[in-house]
Amino acid sequence: MKQEFNVINGQVNVGLAGSLYVEEAAILRERLLEYIHSGHRDFVVDMKGVDYIDSSGLGVLVAIQKRALQNGGRVIIKGLQGTVKELFEMTRLTKVFDIQA
């Protein structure tokens, strides 16, 4: 999976493409935690290239969301489509994250 990171005006823009299984989730978690530790608290995660995500992937997003909120920031998820969008809707994660188109 491809994971791209871009910091613009203190906001971390994350671009994901491919399938997010356990291994990729672990890598993503490490990278995002680094940004949290260096003081970043606003994230925008573009999921339009993601075709599959399992509980580990969701776990990473939930974990980062929790910390971002603790630091007064937030996580915006955008580009949800297909089965991934369905997953977010069924598990009501649309209420946990700030979902944008």
């Binding site: 399992d54 974990a63 929790k66 069924m90 598990t91 009501r92 209420k95 946990v96």
Partner: protein
């Protein structure tokens, strides 16, 4: 007595002379010249007579003529100068000239000798002399007894002694005292017997400073072979000696470091023959290092990769510069099996050529034992966890079958069911703890307890889930959450009611519903206050329902044929899918068949 005399004209003598004889007037005009003059200068007699001696001089020396002629005219003079032949070539000459009264005229009578060979010899000698004087090495010349007759400027520069301080002394004044007297004795014996001696001196300068010299001492002989002097040529090698010592030091340090390594280290050439090894390696082999040099490691410790692409040499020659692998060996001392982690790196010689490998052997037997123990522990934990879960059952109202395949011994999945005989409700759930490993498996216990407690409560399915969610929050570690699906089969009303918390799908093989049934619902453990939904539909005898974790559901996505199978076959199919090599997660299922 006979008179010792010969009869000749006086001019015969001059004519026969080897040297040039010229009679010159006071203005320098040549009046007479002998045969030798013609031969040497290349002019004919006729050409010489009347020529000025200036013309016989090279341009540089011509200006001295008058002064020299005046000298000759007064006391007589002998001097060296350069004359010029007819062909222009300059020759060095010695001129001996005096005033004479010849034929009633005051003239200058000069005897001139070609001193070319003497001049050449002198030049040669000067050249050799300069070579010794200016030599970058020290030169010392002693007489037969060893007393110094000559030292060159380099000697003076190196030792600090002046010429006068050393002339007449023996070279032993340079002795530092650190070398054995036998050396000096052997030196003396060698050179006095006519042979050359070479060696190194640890000498002392005038100021006490020590230095090293590499010396070559030989006898000097006369033309007849008799030894008259000894000559020593010495080169200062102090710097080189320092470098050598530094190298030895570094070498010793390196050897110490290699020796102190706990791991066995050896260097082998390209044919696996041991070039060097440390004592840890020797201990591994049960033989001293000296015995091991030359042995092949392939024979001492066969790694089993010979003749295969995994052979270390093959891998190295193909470009891998550093790699590791595991090897089992029998310990020489105890006869027991031990595990080694073998690390191979390339070994180059000073010129940068690949000449062998460095092999490092690390004993990881303990580590392996611990890993194996942990593995057994894990397997035991897995067995225990399985013990907590219910097995299949054949009850009055339903047949229950289960599928349980942890991804790696222990599982994050848990399921359970219970039959409430009084209210005639068969309830159950499947839950999936996020994560892997022992920590996650332990947390399933918390879920199990909470669901059991929820079973007892008089709450609707969705309220039960809401209760469990709130109760579970303190038990969940940071960032952890769980997915679950809960159902109740009410045999009084023949209705199936279900509520979802992250496991949002199940399979139904029933009249009322056939295929995937979906219901939204948030995960357990994310937010304190969650609202859950519940739906219901009727069931009949013969219906089957399959509740599973996403690890198993994902594998079925494209293959819903389970629906068309009879209950027993369907369960068998799910069990088979759960063991599939495609899976990446724990796979579990709770299968219910209405009797």
């Amino acid at each position: 007595m006979e008179e010792a005399s010969i009869h000749c004209r006086d001019t015969d003598i001059a004519e026969a002379a080897r040297d040039i004889i010229l009679v010159v007037d006071l203005e320098g005009k040549i009046l007479k010249a002998n045969e030798a003059a013609s031969l040497v200068y290349g002019y004919t007699r006729e050409e010489l007579i009347g020529m000025s001696i200036f013309n016989l001089r090279t341009p540089e020396t011509a200006q001295q003529v008058y002064a020299q002629m005046q000298q000759a005219n007064s006391e007589g003079t002998t001097f060296e100068t350069w004359h010029r032949r007819k062909d222009g070539k300059a020759i060095p000459v010695e001129v001996s000239s005096k005033r004479a009264l010849i034929g009633n005229k005051i003239v200058l009578l000069s005897t001139i000798r070609d001193i070319s060979s003497r001049v050449n010899r002198d030049a040669e000698l000067r050249k050799l002399s300069a070579a010794v004087e200016q030599s970058p090495v020290s030169v010392v010349i002693t007489d037969l007894k060893g007393s110094i007759e000559y030292v060159n400027p380099k000697f003076i520069e190196v030792t600090g002694y002046t010429l006068t301080e050393v002339i007449g002394q023996n070279p032993r004044i340079l002795k530092s005292g650190f070398q054995p007297p036998e050396m000096y004795q052997e030196l003396w014996n060698t050179i006095t017997s006519g042979r050359e001696w070479r060696g190194e001196f640890h000498n002392k300068k005038k100021n006490g400073e020590l230095f090293w010299e590499m010396a070559s001492i030989s006898p000097i002989r006369t033309a007849t072979g008799e030894i008259t002097h000894f000559i020593a040529v010495k080169e200062d090698i102090t710097e080189r000696k320092k470098a050598d010592e530094a190298l030895l030091q570094a070498h010793a340090e390196l050897s110490q470091i290699i020796e102190s390594a706990g791991d066995g280290i050896c260097v082998v050439d390209l044919e696996a023959r041991i070039i060097r090894a440390n004592s840890a390696f020797a201990a591994m082999c049960g033989a001293p290092v000296e015995q091991l040099v030359g042995e092949k490691t392939c024979e001492l410790f066969p790694c089993g990769f010979c003749e295969t692409p995994n052979c270390s040499f093959v891998r190295m020659l193909q470009g891998e510069s550093r790699f590791e692998f595991d090897q089992e060996v029998i310990d020489a001392a105890t006869g027991k099996k031990r595990h080694w982690l073998v690390s191979i790196s390339r070994f180059y010689d000073a010129a940068g050529e690949l000449t062998g490998m460095v092999k490092k052997y690390k004993d990881i037997t303990e580590r392996i034992r611990m890993q194996e123990a942990m593995q057994r522990d894990l397997q035991l934990a897995g067995k225990i966890q399985r013990g907590f879960l219910p097995c299949k059952a054949n009850l009055e109202t339903v047949i229950v079958d289960t599928v349980y395949e942890p991804y790696h011994h222990v599982s994050g999945d848990v399921f359970d069911y219970a039959w409430d005989g009084r209210r005639r409700i068969f309830a159950g759930y499947v839950a999936d703890m996020m994560g892997h490993g022992v920590g996650t498996a332990l947390q399933t216990s918390a879920l199990r307890v909470l669901f059991r407690q929820a079973f007892e409560k008089a709450l609707s399915p969705k309220s039960k889930l809401a209760w469990i969610n709130r109760a579970a929050m303190p038990y969940f570690a940071e960032d952890t959450f769980a997915a679950a699906i809960y159902f109740e089969l009410d045999f009084a009303r023949n209705s199936l009611t279900y509520s979802a918390a992250g496991i949002n799908y199940f399979l139904a093989s029933a009249d009322a519903r056939h295929g995937v049934v979906s219901i939204p619902g948030p995960f357990l453990g994310i937010a304190d206050q969650e609202d859950y939904e519940e739906h219901w539909f009727s069931f009949r005898a013969g219906d089957s329902f399959y509740f599973m974790s996403d690890g198993l559901f994902d594998l079925l996505r494209s293959d819903m044929q389970v629906n068309s199978l009879v209950f027993q076959e369907a369960c068998g199919f799910l069990r088979m899918m759960a063991k599939s090599s495609m899976r990446r997660d724990d796979a579990s299922a709770l299968c219910i068949h209405i009797k």
